[in-house]
Symmetry: D2
Subunit: 133 residues, 4 copies
């Protein structure tokens, strides 16, 4: 299963007055991990997907918060493509600190063309997304 | 079922390079709606819940994105308490523009005390949260 | 001098672990006030400026933090166009709570066309921006 | 002059509908660089400054935007302590991409104690902040 791993250092901006990371920031870290999937392959989502006329908007997001993250924490974000359909996919995430699971979740994405219509992934992109290419 | 409604004007900061509202911002608007639940009753979450030693961290969040929101849109966020257990609750949300549903979702929250232990809601708070008080 | 006033309710997302509003959020509220300048005139920056081929990127921003803002605070953001040149302008801001000044600042903006070149404001927009039109 | 350097990868969340990085995010990157000042020395602002009873709120911020940053850009943030007074300091920043200067600015910070009173830096912290320790 295609996966990537990246590290995030928690900033002051990420925290809230309860002293922990604010809940919406994990969704941003999920996105950062999707970006890394491309960057770590020498590719770029904007250049290699969007510039070709495709967009992958989020159609659903789910997050489970297991334990809080704090300022200065060095977090590991692991993401993997859990499912690829003809024109949609599901990415799963696990955010942890020193092996302790803090947040898990998934996002689903539909592949749309320039006119916003759902469309099948072209072969090369489908191959890129599929386990064991 | 206890519900509130509030309006949000989409800012430039809320948008991303695809020209629509970035997905994580809806979670912030969910939170704004929870805040309004208190403010519209002359109360305040920080003053009336947290200052008494309770915190309501999010334990799960789910969002379904039905249609995009754009800069300048005047959005209606409707939130209602869908379920109250002895020490947890589920809040549901619907964000719309001119009656068109853009995003729906829920958050679940656990009631913890100052030491981070799950604890039952005190009676007055439970009453506040429960339909038909 | 053309000015507008709008109100902002401080959200949990706006706060940080020191218990006060995080410094970068004031810049977002400055932008919200610029948006209100248009919305309160039945106009919209995206529709009435950008759709005509102009963009007003920020070229400089300055903020002075006089006193902290807190969760739940109802803030007043006042903004006024302090200076209009042929192709640039300065907007000033004052954010206060119950008359107490919390943050003041300014942003400067250059008017660029679709190719990113600095260009003079068209007459109607210049009139809109200028005191006592 | 004490300086640090860190790298930032621009996320989708950092961009806005004009296709470039939203202006307020540079302030967050300024903060990330201040954090790195400590992390790169094996220290942590929360643990080594705040836990000792000091806070360094921003009293002024200035940003000059020279050129836009885009999604996927790998930015270099350089920060250096430009001035240290008995109880305040100024930090300067330069954000660049491949040697091209995109944003420069400064923040000033006052050292306050637990009661919010301006107070002199203790000797060891002053030494940490001062050039040529």
């Amino acid at each position: 299963m295609k996966s990537i791993e990246t590290q995030i250092r928690v900033r002051y901006a990420d925290t809230d007055m309860s002293g922990i990371v604010y809940n919406a920031n994990y969704l941003v870290w999920f996105e950062a991990a999707r970006g890394e999937f491309f960057w770590q392959r020498g590719m770029d989502y904007a250049r290699d997907i969007e510039a070709r006329g495709y967009h992958w908007p989020v159609t659903e997001a789910n997050l489970r918060y297991h334990a809080p993250a704090f300022y200065g924490d060095l977090l590991t974000v692991r993401a993997w493509i859990a499912d690829v359909k003809s024109r949609a996919m599901t990415v799963r995430y696990e955010i942890s600190r020193d092996g302790k699971k803090l947040c898990t979740g998934f996002t689903t994405h539909i592949n749309i063309d320039k006119d916003g219509r759902p469309t099948a992934y072209p072969d090369d992109i489908r191959k890129l997304l599929t386990p064991e290419d």
